[in-house]
């Protein structure tokens, strides 16, 4: 008995060392995911990008991910676990990982970190995000054209600038089509909770909304809109299979090119701490095909997309008027500057609601 135990132990040790040796030459790249990779939204898109990364550079790198990591006390440990497992470049893919990432980054100056959607950086910690509000503007145009009731339903996650700027861009666009457009907003206070998201969609439809937009990650709202015969926009990923007759378009997170670029920089030894905030022109996100709408609406959307991509149309063109009726200071020449959008914590005129915490 004892002999077989010893043999077992030896086998375990050997197995461990062999796998360690073969992995030693490859760059280890780690990912921290907020949801399960099967959320079909935010995390799913990050994992698609990771797979694209493996496809492109699989012979030079080895990737590891931890899924379902809550944005609380466990995050710091999860990130540190990846460091300790030998990962040299680590992507932490949600806003709430900002402070934990920074803490670990300060502790391990030789490891590089990439934090999605945050604003704190370090010599070994970059941030990256996308100008989704550009896509929201296009959605606002479509929504105003397609809504019969003139009421849009918006499922928010958290009232942070990223989400608030999305709501504002939507309304500013919709007002150019229908000056009296109304929007009902429900805060789900979560990024991913299909049950809550579905409830929010039902409540919005019950309040008269006939186009549902969301800033949460699951396809639940799309399914509800589909059941009730309403229209909806997908979020993060292609959700058309959850509402073939429902989805108008979807903002697709396309992180793949960015991940590949950053990993290549790491391999070449040229990685630097940066702040990347890409828009439609940089392919940081894309619009899903425009479906379930007449050709004239599709044309409006496509024209807007082309104009934004070319830099001819800015969703936050001055004057941007706040809820108090006064124009917001115009720091970017003829439009709001990036800093104002990054820190946006006001609603524009025409939103008949109060921003939580204001």
């Amino acid at each position: 008995m004892r002999k077989s135990l010893l043999a077992l132990a030896a086998g375990l040790l050997l197995a461990g060392s062999v796998s360690a040796a073969s992995a030693a030459d490859k760059l280890k790249v780690g990912f921290i995911y907020l949801g399960p990779i099967g959320d079909l939204g935010w995390t799913y898109q990050h994992d698609l990008a990771r797979q694209a990364l493996v496809k492109e550079l699989g012979d030079k790198i080895e990737t590891t991910y931890l899924e379902n990591v809550p944005e609380g006390p466990d995050a710091e440990r999860s990130i540190e676990q990846l460091v300790r497992a030998g990962n040299k470049l680590i992507f932490t893919t949600s806003f709430g990982y900002m402070d934990p990432t920074l803490k670990v980054a300060k502790k391990y100056p030789n490891v590089h970190f990439e934090h999605a959607t945050g604003y704190k950086r370090n010599p070994n910690m970059s941030t990256y995000s996308a100008k989704w509000w550009q896509g929201r503007y296009i959605q606002g145009l479509i929504a105003a054209k397609m809504s019969k009731s003139g009421v849009l339903g918006y499922i928010g996650s958290f009232p942070i600038p990223e989400v608030v700027s999305g709501i504002n861009a939507t309304i500013l666009a919709a007002q150019t089509i229908n000056p009296n457009i109304k929007v009902k907003i429900i805060w789900a206070n979560t990024w991913f909770d299909p049950g809550k998201e579905a409830d929010a969609a039902k409540a919005l439809i019950d309040q008269g909304a006939d186009v549902i937009m969301q800033h949460t990650d699951s396809p639940a709202a799309m399914q509800i809109a589909s059941e009730r015969g309403k229209l909806a926009f997908g979020q993060d990923s292609e959700m058309i299979k959850f509402g073939p007759k429902t989805q108008l378009t979807s903002i697709l997170d396309t992180w793949g090119p960015y991940y590949i670029e950053r990993v290549k920089a790491e391999l070449a030894g040229t990685w630097k701490s940066e702040d990347s905030w890409g828009g439609l022109d940089s392919h940081m996100f894309a619009m899903a095909p425009y479906t379930n709408m007449p050709d004239d609406v599709k044309k409006i959307a496509e024209d807007a997309q082309a104009a934004i991509t070319a830099g001819k149309l800015h969703p936050f063109k001055c004057p941007v008027v706040g809820q108090d009726g006064k124009p917001v200071e115009c720091k970017g020449g003829d439009h709001l500057d990036d800093g104002q959008i990054l820190g946006m914590n006001f609603y524009v005129k025409g939103i008949d609601d109060k921003l939580p915490g204001k």
Binding site: E67, N68, F95, F158, I160
Partner: protein, 363 residues
Amino acid sequence: MQLVLEKRVERSNTIALVSPLIAIGLTIVTMIILFAILGKNPLLALHAYFIAPLTDGYSLQEIAVKATPLVMIAIGLSLCYLANAWNIGAEGQFLIGAVAGSWIAVKTQGTDAGAWVLPVMLVLAAAAGALYALIPAICKVKFGASEILTSLMLVYVADLFLDYLVRGPWRDPHGFNFPTTAEFDPVATVPLLIEGGRLHLGSIIALLVVAAAAILLGRTIKGFEIRVVGAAPRAARFGGFNANQLIILTFAVSGALAGLAGIIEVAGPVGHLQPGISPGYGFTAIIVAFLGRLNPLGILIAGLFLALTFIGGEQAQIAMKIPLDVTKVFQGILLFYVLACDSLILYRFKLVFPNRQVTRGTG
């Protein structure tokens, strides 16, 4: 011939001792099968789960950090459960403690408040947790309201109250509207025990709590009272023990410990108040309390063991790409076997050869 469960004449002390071991053994066997089906090497997987985390100082620290709130809450709960008082709301008491303690941290932020801040936070958190736990206890004693329901419902109240505070009055003005307070000042932070690690003073406090509970239950009359009231309420009444008073007492103590665990977690590993500070510690602690057989030392071991499965699960995810869901399945299976094996303390299997006549008679 059929297999039936028959009540034992006496509870089996042997089974009571070996039952957790049988449960762990059965869990491991089940997991080996599961790993094999998943196409993973079962031995390597078990190594990643149970052995690897115990082999380096970092993981050991993390296990202690994870176990700290679980053990503190579970000790309090065990006192309640021993006295037949069913506090299910430790999660809420944990959150209220975190809120009460954070109040001082938020109010003194950026001032030159001295070393008194942290001790006051701890005391306030314990007091708030105790008061919050007294609500269901008093409702139970005065009005006969089910403490299971009231304490559980108060969890949601606490959760939403915390939510309101960090979205409104306590929100970090420089936090871009994200629902969190600013990082606490150093005087409002639980000190670390090891430079560069995450092990904090809270783990020592948890050990002291375990020792105090062991003394209370093993060496004092109050402890004896708690056990008698729970085990034999009638005998306790004849003995002049006041069951209602004990419900109040055990609820208060358990609330205080949960509240203390809350502020230690917030002022320790988290560093600020935010929603989601507890991944269900108050509920997981119920499992820890029963896994530890409501015995202080047992709870310490059970808390460490459960923490080990969390840390090990994470390492298995990294090292062997075993999905997180398997860790959850694993914890579920363990509890299932623990409960199943516990039934053998009071019951035993018996083979029955039914008499035909009887069969016809009942059929």
